[in-house]
Symmetry: C2
Subunit: 128 residues, 2 copies
Amino acid sequence: MLLANASFYRAFSEGDAQAMVELWAKRAPVACLHPGAELLLGRDAVLGAWRQILRGDQGFELRCDSPTVRVFGETALVQCYEATDDQPAHLAATNAFVLEDGAWRMVHHQAGPLSRPIPKPEARGFVN
Amino acid sequence: MLLANASFYRAFSEGDAQAMVELWAKRAPVACLHPGAELLLGRDAVLGAWRQILRGDQGFELRCDSPTVRVFGETALVQCYEATDDQPAHLAATNAFVLEDGAWRMVHHQAGPLSRPIPKPEARGFVN
């Protein structure tokens, strides 16, 4: 399950549109809420936006910090903090997956800004 | 399914902490991402925050515009735009529910700001 979630961040970081297309569900209805943006609904809208995002020249690593996984039957929710390159996390995200043909495929992504950036977990000291 | 989603917004608008407690899943793990805030995980954290929010004196209607429902077996995802009172929507939200004891109970809520407020659907003209 965390592998599918990691695939999402790897596809983003590597600008790999084909991996992104493979990751999203083929039959289950998909939707996406990019930060600040209106809802994208359906595979054409969601993957069209991803292709556009990943076509950009200025690729960067999108890091997934502190993922939390909850599995409800054949559906799973992951929450995590998102960060670019080596920066503190500046977004909180919800990713949803369903089992499709034996693989966890993405059906939903929402990311929104954090009021206070959250440092990389390994950079945190013993004092909170 | 939409009834459970509507119950969430009614509980908020009416400041009804007990209805909010009833709505959230009792056994399935729950989590919540309020706008800008860090992840709340577990019933104590999630409901503690709701009790605090709903205790405020300055209650207001939280409206749910244009809900989109997707049901995956015994799990459901709702996306919608959130607005206060009669204003255009300023938040986009994801709500997740699971069937528990025959009722749809909430397991997740994330809301984040929209870059451009979205007018009430009935206030939209024919020109987009």
